[in-house]
């Protein structure tokens, strides 16, 4: 196979007039759901419609950090399963997803943060996920570049060390899943934008795309940052989602310097070294909602200031590229996974903010089950849409999230 250069996703399929399932969005969640529909449920009469090219959205823009040390018991099992799936998928898809399970270090800069870390660590340990609290000196031993002196803006008190996490090659996941989908007969239609979703008697009837009309009883919207817009425009359903730009950047490639993913909440800054040697860094979203993927002058400077503090040797390194993507944020920083409510045959998988990469495999697997059986799997029940109506937020964040004035 090394020396054959056949298209990974076969010949370009022709858009049929009907499909059993139509998936809007050729990103991580759309591809993963299609893959599992075919693999686990024998449903291959599936069309993925993608307005640009696969991986155009968050799938091709994220920094590929994976971990399973979430805060609540609803999230941890889902992310744990997703984390365990990387090696499995690599084999199944026969495509190297380049999982580097180097472990994640979350730096803590205050007593309050240490307390928060304790809770997250206890939750992880309670669910059999490895995670430990370490002190600043131990962190320094693992990451020699760390500045653990007292005279930085946010002195480091300790860290949450989560050995099973790491980074995966994000593009590989897109291409590998697309390859797996195509092989099983799923149609991937690139340069095909969904422009309308049709219902009849409270049920899904079809989808109009830029390339033609499709009849279908089931639609999944997994359009990443565009989902809330798509769902509102096409079905009139307003979701409690704010869309914000999130930026990330890389330095020039270097020989190995960081052997872990290191992140800091107080600095709003994480850093990890890709297999290519670039230091990838990013973290926080722009504080105002918008649908552009433009970067800002402020952010790259902020990131340089932050890294100057806690990874000072990087001052001698150059930034090479910064880009932006969309983060679709729900009020409780947990996604919305919903189906058949309020419209029969309509499914949504969105609100993934900046954590939809690490979850995509497991979310896709259970979404596929949901769509195939028309019953919500237990794993996904906590992520229903109605929780917001009932003011029952998930508790994935400890503190108030202040990315819009209305939360």
């Amino acid at each position: 196979m090394l020396f054959t250069y056949k298209s990974l996703w076969g010949k370009k399929p022709r858009l049929k007039s009907s499909y059993e399932v139509v998936i809007i969005g050729g990103g991580l969640h759309g591809l993963a759901t299609a893959y599992y529909l075919a693999r686990d449920h024998g449903i291959t009469d599936v069309a993925i419609v993608e307005k640009r090219y696969i991986g155009f959205g968050g799938a091709g823009r994220n920094t590929a950090i994976v971990r399973a040390n979430q805060r609540t018991q609803y999230n941890v099992p889902l992310y744990k399963e997703a984390l365990d799936l990387w090696p499995v998928l690599t084999k199944e898809l026969d495509f190297n997803l380049m999982f580097n399970n180097c472990g994640n270090l979350n730096l803590m800069h205050s007593e309050a943060a240490m307390k928060a870390a304790r809770m997250t660590i206890a939750t992880a340990q309670f669910h059999g996920v490895e995670s430990h609290l370490i002190d600043a000196k131990q962190a320094k031993e693992m990451v020699p570049a760390l500045n653990i002196s007292e005279d930085i803006t946010f002195p480091i008190h300790g860290a949450m060390y989560h050995p099973p996490g790491g980074i995966v090659r994000h593009d590989a996941v897109v291409w590998g899943l697309a390859k797996g989908c195509a092989k099983k007969g799923v149609h991937i239609h690139q340069q095909t934008e969904a422009t309308a979703i049709h219902t009849q008697g409270g049920k899904i009837a079809g989808v109009t795309t830029s390339q033609g009309h499709i009849k279908t009883p089931k639609v999944l919207v997994s359009a990443g940052g565009y989902s809330a817009g798509v769902i509102n425009h096409m079905l009139g359903l307003k979701l409690p989602i704010s869309v914000l730009t999130i930026q990330a950047m890389v330095t020039q490639p270097l020989k190995p310097l960081l052997n872990h993913v290191v992140s800091s909440g107080a600095y709003h800054c994480y850093a990890n070294q890709t297999l290519k040697g670039e230091i990838a860094t990013g973290a926080h979203m722009d504080p105002w909602p918008n649908y552009t993927t433009q970067t800002t002058a402020h952010y790259i400077k902020h990131q340089a200031e932050a890294l100057s503090d806690w990874l000072p040797c990087l001052r001698g390194v150059r930034f090479m590229r910064i880009w932006g993507g969309l983060a679709d944020m729900t009020p409780d920083m947990a996604p919305i996974l919903e189906g058949n409510d309020p419209i029969g045959g309509f499914y949504m998988d969105c609100g993934w903010g900046y954590f939809g990469f690490k979850s995509c495999s497991a979310a896709g697997k259970y979404m596929a089950q949901f769509i195939a059986t028309e019953n919500c799997p237990d794993m996904l029940k906590p992520f229903n849409l109605r929780r917001y109506e009932k003011h029952q937020l998930m508790g994935e964040t400890a503190a108030l999230v202040s990315y819009t004035p209305d939360n």
Partner: protein, 971 residues
Amino acid sequence: MKRLRQFPTLHIDTNETRSLKYRGKSLQGFAGDTVATALYANGIRIFSRSLKYHRPRGLYNLDGESSNTCMEVDGVPNVRTENTLLKDGMVVKAQNVKGSVDHDLMAFIDKLDWLMPAGFYYKTMHKPAAVWPVAMKAIRKAAGVGTISADYKVKGRYDEIFLTADVCVIGGGAAGMMAALTAAESGVRVIVLESRPHLGGCWDYRTGAYKENKPLFARARELAGQVENTSNIRVFKQTSMVGAYNNNLITAFQVGKSNDAFTERYVEIRSKSVVVATGCIERPLIFENNERPGVMQVACAHRLARSYGLLPGEAAVFSIGHDLGLEAALDLFDLGLKIRCVADIREDGHDAGLLAALAERKIPVLKGWVAAKAHGCKQVTKVTLATLDGTVKRHIPCDLLVASAGHTPVNGPLILAQTNIAYDNHSGFFLPKKLPEKMFSAGWMTGRSHPQAIEASGQVAGLKALAAIGVTDKTAVFAAEKEAAALPGIDRGCKLVTAPVKGRKSFICFDEDTTIKNIKQAIDMGFDVPELIKRFTSAGTGPGQGGIPGHNLPLFVSKYTASASKPMPTAVRPPLVPTLLATYAGAHHHMFKRTPLHASQKKGGGIFRNIGVWQRARYFSSDFDCKDEILNVRNNVGLLDSSTLGKFRIFGPDALKALQRLYVSDMSKLKQGRIKYSAMCNDDGCVIDDGIVIKRGDNDYYVTTSSGRAGNTVEWFRYHTRYDGWQYHMVNLTDAMGVINISGPNARKVLKKIADADISNNAFPFAGYREFTVKNTIPVRAMRLGFVGELSFELHVPSSYMQSVWDMLMAAGAEFNIKNFGLEAQNVLRMEKGHIILGQESEQRTNLLDLGLGFLWDRKKTAAKTVGAVALRQAENDPGRFKLVGIRMQDDARAPRDGALIVDTHVRGYVATARKSFTTGEAVGMALVESQLSKPGSRLEIYEDECNEIRLQARVVPMPFYDPDGQRMKM
């Protein structure tokens, strides 16, 4: 190497030597040399080894468009030595080398390229799975160029500067200078950014005629002189523009000269209008071994001679596709370079004068020919030239191959400013479809190259920039445009991408070692858009920022896929030039707020922590248990600096309405002289703030918020009343007022000594509010609160008087042995009273009822549309919520750690705060638990981190743990 001397175009000063260290030797260059030109002068031809194949790489270009000459300089990796000025004493090292740069032990890999087709990482190395971890280590080691040590400290001073301008001109070539001069004539403030150390652009070294008897370089110097002497033009040299953002925000970085106060500095300019005149770079010619040392671009060869006095070789072959190639060949010949022949891709369209001059010098010109292969392992020794169809070949020995297919505009600045560009068939350039507002382009990048046309376009752009900001009118622009239109227009460009080769060693991207063959493989594998090919093959993702493949990749893809649509460019992203983090960070310094008592708190032994935007004294005890601090408040009297509390005045005819909207309580019942504790919720009913409200007059209130919320409070009020048109004002007094909390059974005795008022329990009872003076001068707002559960006064004092009042209290309390207490002591004291701190006993989803604060909520004021009320009504009957409860450990020996879980088979809650109380001797705390566990007496199992499944036992108990009747705070 001998230098050519005494030209007017030289940028080196041969009277001033500069030394550098390379491979253990001290080498000499001159002032004005770049590191790479100095090395070149010393005979260095191989500057680095390539990323994947460890191929030798040499000087190809002088503007840093590839990583060929990236080296480690003074410990900093990836310095683009070709355009970094040499400073005395620099220590330079080659990168990505095993052994020496001349004899790289890894060079054999070049032969194994067949093992590494496009995307081979994805297709291999995971079978069997055990291979991957090993392979990954090897990949990591092989990848990356340059090293930085973990303890590296960058030297030098990094600064930042923020400017405004009326017109900012990017690019100090002829067009940019004309634009700047034209704009400056009107008197506006003009800034010119130029990345090279001198103005002049590509005319700086060119001998072609500007006008009769005036070569281009002379004209460039003339313009530069005018620009530098115009007082309202500020010129930034060695300043590379790196970013363009909305509303013409331009970022750049400037490299300091030896006498500047900075090594590098970040430059940010908000300009009313912008002219981009960044000219063109050369579009590389692709053939076998097109990056062998000895192959270089036209301008590189030409500038080496004209600017640095270095003849780039002895005997050269030229393979070019434009007149500039002919011009350079001619000039270099006259300077002493032997030229074997000039292969020109073009069959026609040459400048007749140049052809005649070449013929006069007997330099053969082959039209319709192109270089197909460079020979020689480490340096070019021979070139194979071929006809465009590849049918006829010739081999010519040489040590220099000057190669360039054509030109490509430096569109980066425009693209960063959101300009859409499209392929233009005539010029072969990507040209803007429509320029953004108040941004204009000029010069060579627009496709024109005739000297007068270049200058005219600069003039037009300068006038347009003025018109855009209303300084001149459109008629001036139209007139200039008309004049410019009469001059020669857009040139026809050469479109050839690759010589007739298979492309196994034909590099489209040097930095990533991507060949034409790799691109074909990627396309065959289904990656049919340039952007995806870029990702799959990495072409254009290296330190050269796409300078080498940026134009060729889309052209090649379009050709190979025989696509009907025009070539599609790949994304350009900031920074356009790789920029040091130190430079971006600039003069970065910490910013924390300090309370008015900072110094004396520090002197008093305070151990500080950064909390939110503040620095606060958290402990006055080195054991962090704070036992003495706590007991001193319980039994005697202590002082706390609470200045960080948010403080606001809210007043105006509709002030009460606003309070009714935002606070859950009914504020209409508030009486003057009393304080009201209340809370604010969000639309989910979750508590976002708590504090006290004081009525100082009709529709005139004074409120406090928690420290963390102070910054958001005004916006929060404004947001939730934005449609009501109410008239009220808010004044943020957070920094204007400080707060002293004096607590403990002896508090009154101390305060009495300095207050000019009766503060007895009758005159000033619990929950009361009084205003009085201290020492007949200092106005104080005093309230009686019970947060820590003892007799307690909170004094709000103008910041400037804080220290005086504090000192007076300290003096007055000396007889009682009054002491400081810090935040942690307060934390324990209030916990014993069951008083909450938001964020500690609450999380994002915790609502008012969950916290047991439902009594604050007034259900009857529905007309006020209190924020959160709807949600609270709904939550009242919701059994599935957490409740805040008091807990007591079965074993009083120790409290669980904050954040420990409450579990059975599932997680049922967690411990918010727990301590072993010094006051009661019990291990108690507060926890958020599911409601079915919230009844007093419920047994709780506690699961701590690292507990090895050994769970602690506790019970739900009533709160508070201390002084349940509240006698002590009412004393």
